[in-house]
Point group: C3
Chain length 315, copies 3
């Protein structure tokens, strides 16, 4: 799309004929992508951006790098939301190649296989599962019944996805207008799942707003786990039942989270960290190999000690 | 049905030929409905009722309004449960008109469309979804794969329902006999969802016991959210991942609830209230626009202060 | 299978031709089963075992009963995991008898019925549901749309299973190698559900690693409930929305658990216990009929009192 043309759709007039193909964050955008700066917190990212154009408020106009076009608007995040719709792919592809199924793979009855998708060798897709368009599934992978894999997602080799799990549903993202209407940020990214991953029943992993929600190799997710958009789970992470990760949480290698624990999002947890059941993480954890518990979060031993002190209040 | 005849099925003899069509609460019942009083707390509702008949204990017989028939029984709630079965609609309609699908709407393969249902224009129902009998879905609405919409529910225009979500499952209601057997209260109400609503993956919204569980316009629900029967969410409410609402919770306009927060049910939350992640609401919140946190619940600033004081116990 | 042959697959040489048919715990194993001792805590079970063979570390070799073969290995649990794969049944049976459906039962379109399965009389299986191989479902039972019942599970009479619920998904079990690779413990048990059970929407009940996850008669589970492998819920238990049980939790008769409450697993709760919403049970509760709350858990009255004391810290 031509920048000037797409901006016209949101009533912004700019005289630029550069070709744009999508939206992205300041740090990840390339010269064919539009980015945005809403939150001052990310101002250092503005000068590093390689975006073709960036939505900014009047105040920050002069801080936009010289090779990037500044698109001045009152509410960059809201404008981004309004633009996102125009970059959204089709809900269902009707054109394209039929799904390629590798040798010795089994597709049970009542499975939908999307266009331009590909399933490897020795894999099994069980009844009622939905494999959207442009999905790639590797070798020796089992998709149990009634799993939904949205378009553009990828699942590696030797994976097991249990029933009812949803891969690639939209992240929870929207801006709001002054009158309180919510404007959806179309989630144009995807989910990529590595090799040797097992995901329990009725879990949900949201696709990224931009780029990918990433599940590394060897990850184990239990039932009813919620992974929000743009999370990154590095190799070997273990999340037990009913854990919830807010958006853009980064779990480094071998993080273990106990049942019903959760994170607040936009934070990073160091490798080999253990969060006890019900732990609530609201800030990044930088030191590896420690054990934490509680909400607010304490080192596990401290939390136990604190509970002892609290119990004494009864006396 | 004739009142005397239906009561005979639960071994109550009453000489009345009035026609009854269903069950309802004291305040909502009309002259063709049966209501009940079990809990003294609702005694003021008894004198206001317009119900055709009401199940009451001997003690309250004289407080039943003169135009309402008093049906005296030992355990009104249990009798109500036993009666509810006779008012339950069929699980599957085999008669009736085929579903009407509006122009430019797409029904993918492996979708079930119930009798007497109606889907508007430009809507998409994706593979594996179930649209029960007598369901109405509006225009421009997307139902992602493997969604289940139970009979009699309605979904408005411009809605998005993500995979695995269940609309209209039975509320969690039962009475118990003296021997400890649970008697199901058939959930003969429905769910009505307004316009411009987005619901994430693997959430569940229970149908009402009587009347409707109501989701207002513009509401946003994230993944794995649980809405119990007879809840009312007014316009613009936002519930993030893994929130749980107990039965008959009323959220006024633009209430925001953070991840894993919950309510105890039979309470009301004022407009523009924010409940932080993990907040547990056990009493109504009457003052609008305030922020709350914790379980037990405190004003957010107080909760933060309290956590500071608690942490000091470690010293 | 012959013991020596199966052990060869994991590079253990033993000269025994006994026939083995599966894996099991020390207490439950019979003479055709292999068991294991990893955790010293279970050492008293070792002398009581009737297992045909048992995986043990060198140190415990001499404590193995004389009729049981000691299989010495460095990491018994890891070896067990590696062996479990060889005892796993097929994912999909292609041979065997077609499912038997009793009179007056209704199977809606887009249902998969596995081999050697059996559905009783007057039951209803709704669209999109998956009934795996060797499943037994009783009379008068309703399976709502998009339910998944994995192979070998049984569901009794007069049950109601709501949409999206998964019965028999794999328990969350794995050992890990020294290099951090997780080795799946194939979950070769099943789930057995009694009579008159109702399970809400999008709940998940994992199959047992060995033997059965058991749901007793009259149990009521709400939406989004997570039951891990090898749990036992005795008759009349009630679990409300979003409750989570860790593995091998035993709930005795008529235990009631409030919303979002949870257990830590490998513990037992006495009959008629009530756990309030959000309660977190980490130890067995032996005295019946008491009410508990909080995390850490206190008797309910004590918990309320404690919250009062904590609130006073604000002054």
């Amino acid at each position: 799309m031509i920048l000037s043309e797409i901006l016209e759709k949101v009533d912004i007039k700019i005289d630029s004929k550069i070709e744009v193909s999508g939206l992205n964050t300041l740090l990840d955008a390339n010269k064919n992508e539009i980015s945005f700066l809403e939150n001052k917190k990310y101002i250092n990212d503005l000068e590093k951006t390689n975006a073709g154009a960036v939505l900014v408020k009047e105040d920050f106009k002069n801080m936009v790098p010289k090779d990037t076009i500044a698109i001045v608007c009152e509410e960059p995040y809201l404008t981004l939301a309004m633009l996102s719709k125009f970059f959204a792919p089709k809900i269902i592809e009707t054109q394209g190649k039929d799904c390629i199924v590798g040798e010795n793979s089994t597709i049970m009855p009542n499975v939908y296989l999307g266009k331009n998708s590909k399933i490897g060798k020795n894999s099994t897709i069980m009844s009622g599962s939905f494999i959207g368009d442009n999905v790639t599934i590797g070798d020796n992978t089992i998709i149990y019944p009634n799993v939904s894999v949205y378009r553009d997602c990828t699942i590696g080799d030797d994976c097991i996805i249990h029933s009812g799990t949803v891969i690639g549903s939209d992240g929870f993202g929207f801006a709001h207008t002054k009158t309180g209407k919510y404007i959806k940020i179309y989630q144009n990214g995807n989910v990529t799942i590595g090799n040797d991953v097992e995901i329990g029943a009725n879990s949900s992993i949201d696709r990224a707003a931009f780029n990918s929600t990433i599940i590394g190799n060897g990850v184990r997710l239990d039932n009813l786990v919620h992974i929000a958009h743009n999370c990154i789970l590095k190799d070997g992470c273990i999340l037990t039942g009913q854990v919830g990760l807010s958006g853009s949480t980064i779990l480094n290698e071998y993080v273990i989270m106990g049942g019903q624990s959760a994170t607040a999002g936009h934070l990073e947890i160091a490798p080999f960290t253990t969060i006890a059941a019900r732990g609530g993480v609201t800030k990044s954890i930088t030191e590896p190999k420690k054990q934490w518990a509680g909400f607010p979060l304490f080192e596990h031993r401290q939390w136990l000690k604190l509970q002892g002190r609290i119990a004494k209040l009864l006396k």
